[in-house]
């Protein structure tokens, strides 16, 4: 409704959330909102996000879509916001239960990592039999999602009898990712058959590293839609990537928050999924993109968004 001022707040400046701004504008137009504004914390710091959220509340925003800076650490701010009567919802990543968030619309990080690893193993096996070994590059260990990803990759590998020879974490900065991945490949490229990456920057760095190494002995599945990764897929250097749906998260998120403000409630028996963090999880959609659909992945995600949108009110909401 036209008194809904919705804030879309990511964890910090990051290319992943680029689509949120557009999605917010589209949603404001499509649903007649007073605003659905993309407001970015100046740094990727929990305290900066908290301070921004407090400030947004003072500025009169009355509904919040939040990518939690920390699944646990952000809960208390969310409680404060909802204490002022503003509905809160998690987007992209989830709060850890219990939390005041109505629901979490995001990527199931574990599932995505699992799926990506399966795809990688498929690609490796297609090249021939024999024992296969993979390396896993991921982000900060202080982010609980990182552990979920590590577990998921290990689980997928174990199921297929593939060995994860090394996990390199804490490489969310471009310089560190570049240095460590190159160092690893220089010494151990002969020891692995595949690479799975479960964070944005390592995916870019690994793709570039493989491009420079040449040859296509090593398979790789990345994550997200960085242009460098997509180009590497088209050039046949990387097998594929696990695309997430940030646009859909913000667009649907704004819609749901507005509905919640107009008196809708979450259905008691809504068919939420569960993940490691929450029992009120709605998958915003992931898709495996490879050379065949690298150009049309946006259509794929649009479709996904539309599909979630269409049945959403009926499935999850109770509106008198």
């Amino acid at each position: 409704a036209d008194d809904s001022r919705i804030a879309l707040v990511p964890g910090g400046p990051h290319p992943y959330f680029g689509a949120w701004a557009q999605a917010g504008e589209d949603a404001a137009r499509d649903f007649g909102l007073a605003g659905a504004d993309y407001r970015v914390p100046q740094k990727w710091e929990l305290s900066q996000q908290n301070q921004l959220l407090e400030s947004l509340l003072s500025q009169g925003y009355n509904a919040f879509l939040i990518f939690p800076g920390d699944p646990v650490g952000s809960v208390s701010t969310a409680e404060e916001l909802s204490g002022f009567g503003a509905p809160v919802m998690a987007g992209g990543g989830c709060f850890k239960d219990p939390s005041p968030a109505a629901l979490c619309l995001g990527t199931d990080t574990g599932a995505s990592a699992y799926e990506g690893t399966r795809k990688l193993i498929e690609a490796m096996k297609a090249k021939g039999d024999g024992p296969k070994r993979i390396a896993h590059f991921t982000g900060f260990l202080s982010d609980p999602n990182t552990q979920l990803r590590i577990d998921a990759v290990n689980r997928a590998a174990e199921e297929e009898g593939v060995e994860v020879v090394q996990t390199i974490a804490d490489i969310d900065a471009p310089e560190a990712a570049e240095e460590k991945i190159n160092a690893y490949l220089a010494a151990h490229s002969g020891d692995i058959d595949g690479i799975v990456t479960t964070a944005w920057v390592p995916a870019v760095a690994a793709a570039e590293a493989l491009r420079q190494m040449g040859g296509d002995r090593i398979d790789m599945v990345g994550i997200d839609h960085d242009e460098a990764v997509l180009k590497a897929i088209k050039d046949g250097i990387v097998d594929g990537t696990m695309i997430q749906n940030p646009y859909g998260q913000a667009y649907i998120g704004a819609y749901v928050l507005d509905r919640l403000r107009s008196g809708c409630t979450i259905k008691a028996d809504a068919p939420f999924k569960s993940n490691a963090l929450t029992d009120r999880f709605v998958d915003s959609g992931t898709a495996y993109v490879d050379a065949s659909n690298a150009d049309s992945y946006i259509e794929t995600m649009r479709g996904e968004t539309k599909a979630i949108m269409d049945g959403f009110e009926a499935t999850y909401l109770d509106c008198q």
Binding site: P13, G18, A176, E178, E179, A186, S189, D226, A228
Partner: protein, 322 residues
Amino acid sequence: MPSLTRFVRTDWFGPLLACIVAIAIIQSVSPTFLSLANIQVLLLALAVNALIAFSQMIIIAIGQMNLSVGAIGGLAAIAFAGAMEVWGLPAPLAALFGLIIGLACGALNGLLVRISGMSAFVITLATLSIYKGVNLGITEAQAFYGVPQAVKAFGSAVIAGPVPWLVAPTALVAVWLWFMLRRQPVGRFILAVGGNEHAAELSGVSIARTVVTAHAISGLLAALAGILLVARLGVGQPSIGDDWLILSFAAPVIGGAVLSGGSVSVAATLLGVVIVAIITQALVLFSIDPYLTQVILGGLILAAVSFNRLRESRFIGRFGRA
């Protein structure tokens, strides 16, 4: 043994010894360490990190700190990539543009420090925010991808054997810095101001000019590091530079630079960078449990500097002071 004594007493001897010992240990455990491919990776890391360290070193030389090296590097990086993608500038012009931005940012730091009379720490903290904010304001956290193939090729091509082209600018800079700090009045003025600002002023050195010069050089080097990093990564990422601060101080300090100013060494700083790079590589090579990586990293840094320290007291004690 006068020549040995002199050798032992040079500022780069300790870091060099630490390097050699570290390399020997790692090589004995993991023979692939000194493979050509690995050396090339090491040199690539050095090419950029050394510039970052030099950029801070020149400010440490005047007894100040520059917190904005990363922000300047990041801004120059996206300016370089952006100029090529958005304006379609040819790479050399775009690089020049990035360097000029770095130089200007650095000079602005220096001017502000002089005008305000505040410590460089505060000023560069403020400009760090400004430069980073401009970076984010322009890019909105999205990378520039329009880096031409030629630039990327420069980032990975080798001159000969394992020596990448990327180290060429760094090597030139190192030689130039060494020459300037040892032989040219400008460099001596910089060190003099760091050693004893008052005495330098009494001897007719213009403090203002020297401080601005040092900051401008610092900005220039940071910008060069950012530009090389774009060539290396193949994308102009806005987050370039966010992580430089600690490294920029660590390498000169491991190399024995005195934070209060007046005593820095190009060679020792370079070796400091090498030590950090070796440690980083060793951690990757040895397949350490990711949860333990940080602990071991800290331990190794401590070991490296303590070793250096031990050497100082032992050898100098034995060979006398003369």
